[in-house]
Symmetry: C2
Subunit: 528 residues, 2 copies
């Protein structure tokens, strides 16, 4: 954030023992109480100034081991460099280009007007009466408010979400798949992350002395290992996506992963991310069918991260939900337990800050379902405005409605740009010496492989960094480009990658790719 917007007081040096207003000065203690305060039992051998109750030794070990690359040191460093630039520091670049997150609006892209107008009206319903917003916006806002307790977005919803929004999500799924969806299987959550966590939590259980094994793709969206690490009785089982085959999932590799961990844990769940993050592949219906059959044979609970389902660029690719394929396969597959996740953050809507999302969890045993609902209830509910953002994602303006034309124009222009960006990025990476990149069929990232010369790898080792982490830090420090090293997502040993978002406006993306090409060439030269 630009510092010029901060009142001067923001810069006051903060000192916790300082009494800034001369009020609340230390209490006067009687000799007796002084005595009591000054020689407390637990103080016998320690200095009060130094004593800490919570230390690295008695901190929750799961918190210690958990890693999350998207908030790692490089991201922090990029923010620091931005501030240095604001304060006039001289760098070989004028701005930091942030290509880290799948955050459309952070990249300066405008939101969908309809969603924001609805949010404005449900936040301040006076606007429904006294403003000239489009009719369908007013109707939507009015309808949604009828679903909120006391007719207000300021009241709690049920823990599982506002009923009419859950029903609309179910209708969206029915429209998408051609199979019915029970609105009571829909749980609205604050972005997909909290939904995924709540479902994995149910599986965090030691069975016959073994931890719960959860199969996770490599490379993967870092949320999964982060969440798994936070649970005491859960173990990650890696299966590798086939880079030489467009990051495909092969049953052979799934079986390999299962066999290699035999005896070390009890495999209970299989995580699939489709479209892929960071890899951008879109699974074929046949692959999904094989995965479902594998999960069925091996008795694995299916967890499908499908948050990028509305971002498909490749003409030959189509999104097929696991739910749909499960239903198409009929019994016994159609009775399998499946949790699939969607978000308001990742589609063309790109409303990350609103924290809208849903989980569709099907075929749960009724008792387990009750426990699941109970376990989310202590959080009260997800943000009601986020739920309303989700409503706008699953029920966009309809033909004939006064917002329809604008919505279609906005949606198409975003998807057109992303389709172009996907090609621009992939072509650029494949045209740079020592880089190669699979097609980005969907999602909002490219994940190129980079060739790193042996002395670069050596230098990295000396600095105790992953080689691609070293590469990323050099790219940041020398060219001002902030991307995420592949090591944060997992990759085959001896291969190096990075993830970049393709959400930047096309012109900026092209500029970034130019800078990156130059940097990479210089980097390779330097290493010779």
């Amino acid at each position: 954030m630009s510092s010029r917007f901060l009142p001067r007081t923001f810069y006051r040096v903060v000192n916790c023992s300082e009494n800034i207003k001369g009020r609340g000065c230390p209490i006067q203690l009687s000799p007796k109480s002084l005595n009591r305060y000054q020689f407390p039992r637990a103080m016998a051998n320690v200095s009060g100034r130094e004593r800490k109750l919570l230390t690295m030794d008695n901190l929750n070990p799961c918190v210690k081991s958990m890693e999350y690359v998207l908030s790692g040191p490089l991201v922090t460093r990029a923010a620091a460099i931005e501030k240095e630039l604001e304060q006039g520091a001289k760098k070989p670049f004028k701005e930091v280009i942030n290509a880290v997150t799948g955050d459309r609006q952070a990249m300066g892209q405008p939101p969908i007007t309809f969603t924001r107008q609805v949010l404005a009206l449900v936040s301040y319903p006076e606007l429904i009466k006294y403003s000239n917003f489009p009719d369908d916006v007013k109707e939507r806002a009015t309808f949604l408010l009828t679903g909120c307790s006391g007719g207000s977005t300021g009241s709690y919803s049920e823990a599982s979400g506002v009923e009419i929004v859950r029903r609309r999500v179910a209708e969206f799924i029915e429209e998408r798949d051609g199979f019915s969806s029970n609105w009571q299987d829909i749980i609205l959550c604050a972005g997909a992350s909290t939904g995924i966590k709540a479902v994995l939590k149910l599986l965090d259980c030691e069975t016959s002395g073994l931890k719960t094994g959860v199969m996770v793709p490599i490379p993967h969206y870092p949320l999964f290992p982060a969440v798994i690490a936070e649970f005491n009785n859960m173990q990650q089982m890696n299966y590798y996506l086939d880079e030489s085959n467009g990051w495909a999932i092969s049953i052979k590799e799934l079986k390999r992963a299962l066999n290699d961990t035999k005896g070390t844990c009890k495999p209970r769940a299989l995580v699939v991310v489709n479209p892929g993050n960071p890899t951008g592949q879109v699974l074929t219906k046949n692959t999904i069918r094989e995965i479902i059959n594998f999960a069925y044979e091996e008795g694995l609970f299916l967890i499908a991260d499908e948050v990028h389902q509305q971002n498909i660029y490749d003409n030959n690719s189509e999104f097929h939900s696991f739910k749909k394929v499960l239903m198409e396969m009929g019994l016994p597959y159609s009775k399998m337990e499946l949790a699939s996740f969607m978000s308001s953050s990742k589609g063309y809507m790109g409303e990350c800050g609103m924290r809208g999302g849903y989980a569709e969890v099907i075929n749960l045993q009724s008792g387990v379902k009750a426990m699941y609902l109970k376990s989310i209830s202590a959080n009260l509910c997800s943000t009601v405005l986020g739920q309303i953002a989700m409503d706008c994602v699953v029920k966009p303006p309809e033909p004939g409605g006064s917002s329809y034309k604008l919505f279609v124009r906005e949606k198409n222009s975003i998807l057109k740009m992303l389709t172009e960006n996907a090609k621009i990025a992939v072509n650029a990476f494949n045209s740079i010496e020592g880089m190669s990149c699979n097609a980005v069929q969907g999602a909002v990232y490219a994940f190129p492989q980079i060739y790193l010369p042996s002395n670069a790898i050596e230098t990295a080792k000396q600095k105790q960094m992953h080689p691609d982490e070293y590469y990323a830090s050099q790219l940041l420090e020398n060219a001002g480009i902030s991307i995420v090293p592949g090591s944060g997502f997992g990759q085959k040993d001896g291969t190096y990658h990075f993830r970049t978002t393709i959400l930047l406006p096309s012109a900026k993306l092209k500029a970034m790719l130019q800078i990156l090409r130059k940097f990479h060439e210089d980097f390779l030269k330097k290493q010779q």
Copy 2:
């Protein structure tokens, strides 16, 4: 929600195997694949229709044991009765009066205009340019947008929240306490609940073979036992509030609780709720000082739930934050680790659905602080609009601003009503035979004790219900009043209570108390 707003499709009987659009019919399988699909290994001895992977036997045991009364069977039953009434069912009452939650707006009370206007403008910034909202609303919205990535509330904030909002929270605390607050100690969270969970999680650790003991008041806000139960290595230690002394906390009782659990766990944290929920007491500065000294002597991490700090009704009571008293006491106390929590839900603002809240966590060891920030980062961030609601709580309109007069009028009328309601409720309960209630000095609940005759207790036992749960269910079924039985908050054995909110509009509260009086008298008669 009234059913008349639902499209007919909402009523379609949902059947997961039904193919509602004739599309996506089951795939045709070749004999070979049929063979493969029909005799999967794991299927040898089980029927696919019946098989469940996630059962009550292999479900996370912490999820099973966790209880949360505010979403318990009575709350579910109340909602069901509401629907029955909507559908024309005949009952001895015309409506269900919901006195369960501390949710101002669910009770039909209007929000603070300023907050909602700001939310509308940051949701749809066009309104800043082209509308005649008050200047200070426009200025606030403009300022807050400068703190959001890409100038939009639709982008992620840092996991700890939007920096300028965190800085404003720190200024609010400085104003409140007269001691400085470091904005980097402020974590914005989705309501206090998620903040409390994130801090307790740090303490979820087995030390020298013992679980972490967390001291919790009885009666308590049910979130605490619910969260503690979810952690594998945490044990609840109960200390009782003194009902005969206005629900006061005595050091003698804290010591008793500590001694009684010696050897069963490692006491590491002390939870204090001030003002009290469900008990409504406000701690004196002297009591807080004694509690701090106790925590210091016993080496307990202080956790202060202070979400009701802006709801004080008793002229002789004043809110003192633990942070302030800690600082007043000076060294070594001013270096103690403390986490205190605030929310946008519970004050006169009452914006529950927005999910705004903050944690101020002071004096953490730097390494631990880093781990804390890392551990919340995988959730990306709390809702940005909720953070903005929090900004309006800590920085309401200022004198001279165009929204100031209206804000003061709205705020005062709410607090005036709550002050009256607190008296109305307490007086009513104390005037009903077989009921007694301590003064409600703060917060938004009354927690009367009810006398239950022995045969009522007997009947309850036969129905395998807590006696006050039985009383609450009778009150709901026969009088349509929905309250929460005391057993859900914990209480001394042999005593019975219930919690009612005082947030109902005064007229409705009076009506409810009339009905309740009549029900109670009849109930006692019936039992004789």
